[in-house]
């Protein structure tokens, strides 16, 4: 997880939220699986050059959400199993969809036009890869 998480200080999203979302993405993508250890608050704070309280807040949110679990004396671990991973993936997809719908609306496109643009992009992506 170290090295793959990054924060953007200029973003309007609070840094703890960026860390929280970064961990959620790693869980969604399967890079972090149940039982994997995550860096200590201190190590991650040093890596990202952010205040340890900021990392602690992100971890606390993730623990409350059931994605992480603290084992006394051992450290912090990923708790989310396949079910949690599926939920995170769906949440990410919903986020992306909302952003796309917002963009299309802002550009003045109708729903049908947005849907066909998505359809085209989907096929091109597949074709490109094959």
């Amino acid at each position: 997880m170290r090295g793959t998480l990054q924060v953007d200080p200029a973003s309007a999203v609070p840094i703890w939220k960026q860390i929280e979302e970064g961990v959620r993405r790693l869980v969604a993508g399967g890079a972090l699986a149940a039982g994997d250890p995550v860096p200590s608050v201190r190590d991650l704070a040093r890596d990202l050059a952010v205040n340890p309280a900021t990392v602690a807040k992100a971890y606390q949110q993730l623990t409350e959400a059931g994605l992480l679990v603290v084992r006394r004396g051992e450290g912090t671990f990923v708790q989310a199993g396949p079910e949690g991973q599926r939920r995170e993936r769906e949440a990410l997809l919903a986020q992306g969809a909302a952003a796309y719908a917002g963009l299309a609306r802002n550009l003045g496109f109708a729903r049908g036009e947005a849907e066909s643009a998505l359809e085209r992009a989907w096929t091109e992506e597949k074709g490109g890869k094959a």
Binding site: A12, R42, A45, R46, L48, A49, N51, P52, T54, N106
Partner: protein
Amino acid sequence: MSAIACERLTLGYGRREVVVEAGLEVPAGGFLALLGRNGAGKSTLVRGLLGLLPPIAGSARILGLDPWKDRAALMAKVGVVPETPDVPPAMTLADASAFCGRLRGTWDAAGVLERLDRMGVDARKPFGDLSRGQRTQGALALALGGSPEVLVLDDPTQGLDPVARRAFFREVLGDLAERGTTVLMATHDLEGVETLADRVAVLHEGRVLVQAPLEDLKARFRRLNAPAQADPAAFAPFGPVHLRGNGLGLEGTLAAFDADAWARAGLDPDWARGADLETIFTAMVEGGAE
């Protein structure tokens, strides 16, 4: 209890009031960045908080102690990194550490040497022969030698190159994580302090213009980049500062952003992007926001 607090604190030299009715509050374990232009009164406020200057009016408390009256007791619990490190040029850091150890009840001499070693600073070299960055690192190692509950730094990274600055901030960070030290850093280094500070106070012409959690400021401020056809009047409710045309459109800073009101007004979310601390600071000081 707040680790650092002052209320209506007025400080100055002779009849000249430099800091007027300053109010600050830093909870234990907090990190306050004290920002302000040159001459805003940052160093004077730091001196007042460290008991080097008597208050003209108002009061200050650090760890519950009055810095002017209880300076000796307080200094056992406070580490200081001054603007210009004050170790005698002929003295080595190892000797300076041993000297501090004799003055103070608790002193981690081994810890100081270990820290210096990690930072790549030669503890056996005369202080005057060290580079500016090494002198600052050395001052930090000495400030942390007494395991302080509060660390006060007066523009420590001034004149340091980016690599030395980064190393310095990492070292401060390590200590924060280990001990939960409360930090007050007067600084011009907005970029360096941006991810570390959880609170920001802006001093302008001797007065505390704003004091708030950094997160609140980030929520309130936005960089505006709108296309030319956008109506400038639409931005009026969002505290526009420095609004100007740039050929492609309209740019500036919004000091009173509200995402819900923005959406209700039908404005494009992409026009208002997150603002970095430098943008926020400039808008506050020049725009007189607040």
